[in-house]
């Protein structure tokens, strides 16, 4: 297709994806509040709209109207840049995530994905690596001991669990033979989902991802009782909202990646008229992502928090060897099968 058509279609896809991602991040806050409330035998938001569904809107308006306190001795350039960095990388990783198949509207056809890169998976890993800067620089530039300690702990935790996150996904790569996310999903056709072939890899990935997003039982860096609020102690109103949105966006990205790598992405029963054939895969994808978001909230409000040394020991001494062992076993089995198939 011609360059102007390509640009316009890409622009439409990008805007749609960003809009959906921001809404998903906002409503995952609603999901968290409702699910945590029901786990704790109370109601959660019920006043603002039916079932409290307009609560995220009220929260957004509240954030805009809150007073933006800036402490006197912060290092201004990095203090303002840190939430921008965090949000920038959290939003960029959604660009390579495929939601569905090829769709055609009139004379134009496109994949339901902003861009399909050969190294799609590495782009997501790169964005999580760069997202650590938002946390580290926020903690340091806030000129407060709670922020500095929280920022240091959070960035050390994130870089430790990045390693086992990447290595857990290598098992899936060995089986799929490609780094492109679309190819990895296509290799799981006919119900050959990777969760059945890579159970160890799945659990290592899930636990590493929970630690990477500073959530669930690994949220000591932002624990209220230990560090006031960790690296975002000194942030208020819109800048805090940006950290908040960045955290929930990276949760959504992790959930999307888990569905794509282990649960078959958009694959599921499809049939009927063409409009349904285009939309049903998206529905399956969204249902699977919703399951992972629910799992995120469920685990957070069920399990107690790790102590920091337990957390680091767990990442380096248990998850990393387990991920490497998973790679070795997977490689042996794939090589053995290839040899015996010849």
């Amino acid at each position: 297709m011609s360059i102007p058509t390509f640009l316009i279609i890409s622009l439409i896809k990008s805007l749609a994806v960003i809009f959906v991602l921001m809404t998903a991040a906002a409503y995952s806050v609603w999901l968290e509040r409702k699910v945590s409330a029901h786990i704790q035998n109370r109601w959660g938001p019920t006043k603002v709209g039916p079932f409290g569904l307009l609560q995220p809107l009220a929260d957004g308006v509240k954030f805009i109207f809150k007073e933006d306190l800036v402490e006197a001795n912060v290092y201004k350039p990095l203090y303002i840049a840190a939430p921008i960095i965090a949000m920038m990388f959290a939003l960029t990783s959604i660009a390579v995530i495929p939601f569905g198949n090829w769709v055609e509207v009139g004379p134009w056809g496109t994949y339901l994905q902003v861009t399909d890169m050969n190294i799609g998976l590495l782009v997501i890993l790169g964005c999580t690596s760069m997202g650590v800067y938002g946390v580290a620089l926020a903690g340091w530039s806030s000129n407060s001991k709670y922020s500095l300690l929280g920022g240091l702990r959070a960035s050390a935790q994130m870089i430790s669990y990045e390693v086992s996150l990447g290595l857990a996904l290598v098992g899936v790569l060995i089986m799929a033979g490609s780094l492109s996310l679309r190819d990895i999903v296509e290799s799981q056709r006919h119900f050959r989902w990777n969760i059945f072939f890579q159970p160890v890899g799945f659990f290592v990935y899930l636990i590493s991802a929970y630690a990477e997003t500073n959530r669930a039982p690994f949220d000591l860096p932002e624990a209220e009782s230990e560090l006031v609020a960790g690296y975002h102690t000194e942030y208020s109103s819109m800048k805090f909202a940006m950290f908040f949105v960045a955290e929930y966006c990276s949760m959504v990205t992790v959930a999307c990646l888990a569905t794509l790598m282990f649960f078959g992405g958009w694959l599921g029963p499809v049939g009927g008229p063409p409009i349904l054939q285009a939309l049903l895969p998206v529905l399956w994808f969204c249902l699977k992502v919703f399951f992972f978001m629910f799992l995120y909230v469920w685990v957070r409000w069920t399990l107690p928090r790790f102590r920091y040394d337990q957390l680091m020991a767990f990442g380096w001494k248990i998850l990393l060897p387990l991920a490497i062992a998973n790679i070795v076993v997977t490689a042996l089995i794939v090589a053995w099968k290839a040899q015996h198939a010849l």
């Binding site: 290092y75 190294i119 890993l125 790169g126 690596s129 760069m130 800067y133 620089l137 920022g151």
Partner: protein, 174 residues
């Protein structure tokens, strides 16, 4: 033409970042300039067609090694460095000297060697090609490098351990 513009743009960012690293007095600004240098290098790799190397440069160099630099600067609470009042001779001889040396090297490489310009995306940079190089053609250097890194890790662990803590043995709780 388009290739040249992109190359010059990101090359300029790279050089500007490197110069800024030297000029800045606060170490955190220098570290951030180095991150900009790594990022622009990654784009230069992409322009050559080495897409895997781009991703690995961002993940490993800009995303892990530089994070460790930044964490160290934060931990040591390094403040602005006091100017030592650079010597006049160093500036008068040094800057022109470095410029002349750079021009000499560039002239030699451009006109008196076998290097040529390559079009956009000329290299085979897909993971399969890199894996062939790394695990078949250059396996021995790869393994020796990993042993080297292991030695460095062991050295770091030994340097940071305290003898009386080691003698007491590992903590028994948790």
């Amino acid at each position: 033409m388009f290739h040249l513009i992109l190359f010059l743009f990101f090359g300029a960012i790279c050089v500007a970042g490197a110069v800024n690293l030297l000029v800045q007095s606060h170490p955190i600004n220098s570290a951030l300039s180095l991150i900009a240098v790594m990022g622009s290098l990654a784009v230069e790799y992409l322009l050559l067609g080495a897409e895997f190397l781009t991703a690995v440069q961002v993940i490993v160099y800009a995303g892990a090694i530089m994070v460790l630099f930044v964490i160290t600067i934060m931990l040591l609470n390094a403040g602005k460095e006091e100017g030592s009042g650079g010597s006049r001779v160093a500036i008068l001889l040094g800057i022109p000297g470095v410029l002349i040396a750079t021009l000499l090297v560039a002239w030699t490489v451009l006109f008196h060697s076998n290097t040529r310009a390559v079009p956009l995306g000329a290299l085979k940079g897909d993971p399969r090609a890199i894996a062939q190089l790394l695990f078949h053609d250059f396996l021995l250097p790869f393994e020796i490098t990993s042993v080297l890194i292991l030695i460095a890790i062991m050295g770091a662990v030994v340097l940071t351990s305290r003898p009386e803590a080691v003698a007491r043995g590992p903590r028994r709780d948790g």
